[in-house]
């Protein structure tokens, strides 16, 4: 069975705030019965102060789904709606002392139920852009939908490309067969054929960039500018990014707050990378600073 933290077990065996809040004035329902996880969050919000007085959950799901729901209600009770809106799925996972990668989506579901409930209270319609596929890369918790999207968006052709853009496949490598299957499928849809020996997308971009090479200083300045322009969007999601080092065309960043360490972080990193490449017209690889030591050593050798 899963290696659940004691905190997850505690919230699962003795869930807090189970059941619907009587006379609730905000409800959020998210999840998918086909995937086996669904959550209804009910809140009682004080109309004057917008403070969450009571929170209750009803969850159909596994141990970590129930624990995520329970801990979520504990986190948000007493917060104002504005404060609650900033709660991220990473906050939920942190409160639970971590979740296995396969179960990270339970914390995402918690955050989404909260967003939906807040929207419901404010009379807004909450839509999500959430689409989830089968988990492909266990090392980095990256699913099929995300890989497919990146392959489409960035014309990726090899497993190496996929690793560069999403991190998927960059760990133990046991997911490479599945990544190849995705490449085969998407390329077939585009009328192309998968060729494992194709030149990586990176190399092509590099050649293009040779024409007007940036100096390292120019590059760092440009990267800073781009990150600055992305910051408001990241902060709206409860996160932030900090540039730690630039080595060649690799930018090492620290992701903080939202989603640090989960599926969303990889997506965010890939998004930043894409934006950087668009603006700068050269290949830039964005890597979490935590990877720096490992990679620098490899480069030196």
């Amino acid at each position: 069975m899963w290696d659940y933290s004691d905190k997850v077990k505690e919230h699962f065996f003795n869930p807090k705030n189970a059941g619907a809040v009587v006379d609730a004035n905000a409800t959020g329902e998210v999840g998918s019965i086909s995937c086996g996880d669904a959550l209804r969050l009910t809140l009682k919000v004080d109309d004057d102060s917008e403070i969450i007085l009571e929170a209750g959950f009803q969850t159909f799901g596994c141990g970590s789904a129930i624990a995520s729901s329970s801990v979520l209600t504990e986190i948000i009770k007493g917060m104002t709606l504005d404060e609650a809106a900033k709660v991220t799925n990473q906050d939920i996972a942190d409160q639970l002392e971590g979740l296995p990668p396969e179960k990270m989506h339970c914390s995402v579901m918690g955050r989404e139920a909260l967003q939906a409930a807040i929207a419901n209270y404010r009379g807004e319609v909450w839509t999500d852009d959430h689409e989830e596929g089968a988990l492909i890369c266990k090392c980095f918790a990256i699913d099929a939908v995300m890989i497919e999207e990146m392959v489409w968006a960035n014309k990726l052709r090899t497993v190496e490309d996929v690793t560069n853009f999403t991190k998927a496949g960059g760990g133990c490598a046991s997911c490479h067969e599945d990544i190849e299957a995705i490449l085969e499928k998407v390329l077939a849809e585009k009328g192309e054929k998968f060729d494992p020996t194709a030149a990586p997308v990176e190399a092509i971009t590099k050649i293009a960039a040779v024409k007007a090479p940036l100096t390292n200083l120019q590059r760092i300045k440009k990267i800073e500018q781009v990150l600055e322009s992305l910051r408001p969007a990241l902060m709206a999601d409860g996160g932030d990014v900090e540039l730690v080092e630039v080595l060649g065309n690799t930018a090492y960043v620290n992701m903080t707050g939202a989603c640090n360490g989960c599926q969303m972080a990889a997506m965010t990193i890939a998004g930043i990378q894409q934006r950087l490449m668009e603006v700068m017209g050269e290949f830039i690889k964005v890597v979490p600073a935590s990877e720096m030591k490992k990679l620098v050593n490899i480069e030196v050798v």
Binding site: F12, A38, T59, F60
Partner: protein, 402 residues
């Protein structure tokens, strides 16, 4: 109360008599069976005896029809890949939607290589349609592979009849009998089954030992090539201790087969009757009139299997679930989907599987704790309201995104 193990379809405890048989092969007779010296001279005899013990359990004509492998999975892969290698012009395979992944993944791979795979559907009770099967049989089919008994529901397929039908069309027939061997009597010499897989750890032998039964005269291409072991049909130094252990386990299984179909069955029956009587909104999945004697798979509606298992585990009871969450996949078990069990029930299936090591007091203990566990989780469920499911559950709670 000591912990209760009701997960015998996943794997079993090794019988102490089996362990006793094995130990000398680790400490004394550890020589390579191919060697000519006194560390090895008892080994060949041990292997021969084990082969006969397996032969007796499955009722095959010759002991040379037994090929020892490393597991059920290897036997399955060997059978299918052998059939297509030996008959390169036949490009179709017939199997079912409810096979173990050890068959389905091999078929998926072959499909990518251009093979046509006929995956026969099952009805809501997990049964096959033999007329549809008959229509699929043709000269283009390299092999039919149909499991004898399903690992999740215990449903038994009519493989003897199906092997006859295949044979009449000149088509090779393989059965994954990993769950059936030792639980139901069989006599392969009177069937038209060409190949059969079994696995030691499902019948109180150790993990990592299996058998491929290969009817004499069946065209065959070895998967693992190398030494002359198993008459060149499966190279690799014999796992002598485990083979001897498996032999003993087969002898015991034969001895207990009546017990399995009376006492063990009685425990299973009492459990499932008790649970379905006491707990509303649950039902037994599979073909209840045609099942392994030791298996019951029950869907508890409106709650999720992993949660149930965690609470059972806390109560000292081990079982299994077809829920998506226990495997980390997004879909509930393919067997439940194939039977068209609704999602609100498929995620909440629990399989209890018995062995001769269980007793009635354990059944009573499960009956004592299970209603409370189900009630606790239903209290948390958005599909449940007080004493019953909400009206029209799939509409009353229809969350965003699918």
């Amino acid at each position: 109360m000591k912990d209760i193990y009701l997960d015998n379809n996943a794997t079993t405890k090794v019988d102490p008599a089996v362990v006793d048989m094995m130990i000398p092969y680790f400490l004394e007779q550890y020589g390579n069976p191919s060697s000519i010296h006194k560390f090895a001279d008892g080994v060949a005899k041990g292997l021969k005896h084990a082969r006969q013990q397996v032969q007796a359990l499955i009722g095959c004509e010759h002991d040379s029809e037994i090929i020892f492998t490393s597991c059920g999975t290897e036997s399955n892969s060997t059978a299918i890949l052998s059939a297509i290698k030996a008959q390169p012009n036949k490009k179709e395979i017939i199997t079912t939607t409810v096979e173990h992944p050890a068959i389905l993944s091999v078929c998926d791979m072959l499909e990518k290589e251009g093979y046509t795979i006929h995956r026969m559907p099952v009805d809501k009770a997990g049964r096959l349609n033999l007329n549809a099967y008959k229509n699929l049989l043709s000269n283009n089919v390299a092999i039919v592979s149909v499991m004898w008994a399903n690992n999740e529901t215990g449903t038994i397929f009519p493989v003897e009849e199906m092997a006859d039908m295949a044979n009449a069309e000149g088509v090779m027939f393989h059965t994954d009998a990993v769950q059936a061997v030792g639980k139901i009597p069989m006599n392969l010499q009177y069937t038209k089954i060409d190949m059969l897989s079994l696995s030691g750890h499902k019948l109180h032998a150790p993990k990592g030992i299996g058998v491929l039964y290969l009817r004499r005269g069946t065209r065959y291409r070895a998967l693992l090539r190398g030494g002359h072991q198993e008459r060149g049909r499966r190279a690799g130094t014999e796992n002598s201790a485990s083979i001897v252990g498996l032999g003993k386990a087969c002898e015991l299984a034969l001895e207990f087969i009546k017990y399995e179909n009376t006492q063990v069955k009685a425990m299973r029956d009492r459990l499932e009757r008790g649970l379905t009587d006491q707990i509303p909104h649950c039902f037994i999945t599979g073909d209840i009139y045609n099942r392994l004697p030791n298996t019951t798979d029950i869907a508890f509606e409106y709650i999720e299997g992993e949660s149930i298992l965690m609470l059972l585990n806390k109560a000292g009871i081990a079982a299994s679930s077809g829920s998506a969450c226990t495997s980390g996949s997004l879909e509930p078990s393919h067997v439940m989907r194939a039977m068209d069990i609704p999602y609100t029930a498929a995620h909440g299936t629990i399989r209890f599987s018995f062995s001769r090591y269980n007793d009635m007091s354990e059944v009573d203990e499960v009956l004592r704790v299970m209603p409370g566990i189900v009630a606790t989780l239903r209290k948390l469920s958005p599909y449940w309201d007080g004493n019953g499911p909400v009206a029209d559950p799939e509409k009353a709670f229809a969350p965003v995104y699918a």
